[in-house]
Symmetry: C2
Subunit: 241 residues, 2 copies
């Protein structure tokens, strides 16, 4: 598929329309899923998942941690997994990176250059200039962590924030959603919101009407797909996977 | 040096006392520092830094991003850099990881097992259960991002938070410092606070009287060493590097 000068989310939307699916397939080679803890075992495991799902996968989401835990050969396997995914299917590397300036540039080169992912999950704690290096190329996308579904999510994300300077009011995660809406100047920034929380999804959608939401946890983590879609979809019936 | 059953910060303190230095030496193989973009060039660059500083380095802090940007051979070089550091000098891997459950476990295995780092920088946005896998082994340490020195730090970290449920009041970064103080049940959790901000250092020290603070930015980023030390040191004259 030709992707010259195609915005990441246009690429994702074209895939979604082509197969009429919002499914993002995680590629998480847990140690318990592998016959041996090697890069080639992780690659074979992921290839099996890709073969089984390629006709209804809107995107693939390999989890960097399970490859990193296998050392240098794990990183080679991650690169090979991404290369094994058909060109027309976007790859979102789940790595939750977050750092500043030249370090963020290096993480972006690792994800988009070396590994050839199309998008990356990133962390908002360091603010705008730590996000910018990941969205400087409109062909590459980033999904900013907003509201996660783990117990500790409430430790920071649910805190009520008040700031006249930043005009912030509401929960921290809603503030992150509003910031992302303003940071999205090239149309290639989305959010990560756990699918198990329909109310949070609705609040994020209200705070960021235009942004794509990556909503992990439908199915495996007990999320209710219908409630999540009702809460998170945009008016155009897209905007969530 | 024998490290059997030695807490990470006891290990760090023994090194600091042995050489009477609080200096943490960053190992950041920027592309502009390398004659060619290869793992072996990064390894040689870092070996040169280590040779030049080993007599006054309280710890080394390799930056994962610059190695990741070199692909699988970069990860092999990172492993070799850490192996080249004398056993008596703690290694803090600067990777700012943050994820939940089995994914955090995998990042911990990558940092502490595969790469054999002694400590890791981590991100607080996902809360307590995302921190716990990094501090389950007292011999390994973690430094939680608290207040950074980049412009975007104010986007989240400086927000005023209010929560009766969490008894939170003050800036978000102060809340993170208080949380870390309570999460530090095994004595192996510290904080990252930019050295350029003496007032923030003093507030963090007030919120977390016992915790070690990793304060990058003295020197290279324009921090004032004396002001930073006055603000950040513990009553025992330690607690900051």
């Amino acid at each position: 598929m030709q992707r010259i000068e195609m915005n990441f989310f246009d690429f994702l939307e074209s895939r979604i329309r082509a197969i009429d699916s919002l499914l993002c397939v995680g590629l998480d080679p847990h140690p318990s899923d592998l016959p041996e803890l090697t890069g080639s075992a992780a690659l074979e495991f992921c290839r099996g998942l890709i073969d089984a799902t390629v006709n209804f996968a809107a995107a693939y989401k390999p989890n960097a941690a399970f490859f990193e835990a296998l050392g240098p050969e794990g990183i080679a396997a991650l690169r090979d997994v991404i290369a094994a995914i058909p060109d027309e299917v976007p790859v979102i590397l789940d790595a939750k990176r977050g750092d500043i300036a030249s370090t963020a540039d290096a993480y972006a080169r690792a994800a988009f250059g070396v590994l050839a992912a199309d998008a990356l999950t990133i962390n908002p704690y360091l603010g705008h200039d730590a996000v910018e290096p990941f969205i400087s190329d409109p062909e590459k996308g980033a999904f900013l962590l907003c509201k996660t579904s783990n117990p500790g999510a409430s430790d920071l994300q649910d805190l009520e924030v008040h700031s006249t300077r930043y005009r912030a009011q509401g929960a921290l995660y809603e503030h992150v959603a509003r910031l992302a809406q303003t940071w999205n100047t090239r149309g290639n920034l989305g959010l990560v919101v756990g699918a198990t929380q329909a109310e949070a999804l609705a609040r994020v959608r209200a705070a960021a009407p235009d942004l794509w939401i990556l909503a992990p946890g439908v199915g495996a983590q007990g999320g209710d797909l219908r409630a999540a879609l009702q809460a998170g979809l945009r008016a155009d019936g897209l905007g969530m996977l």
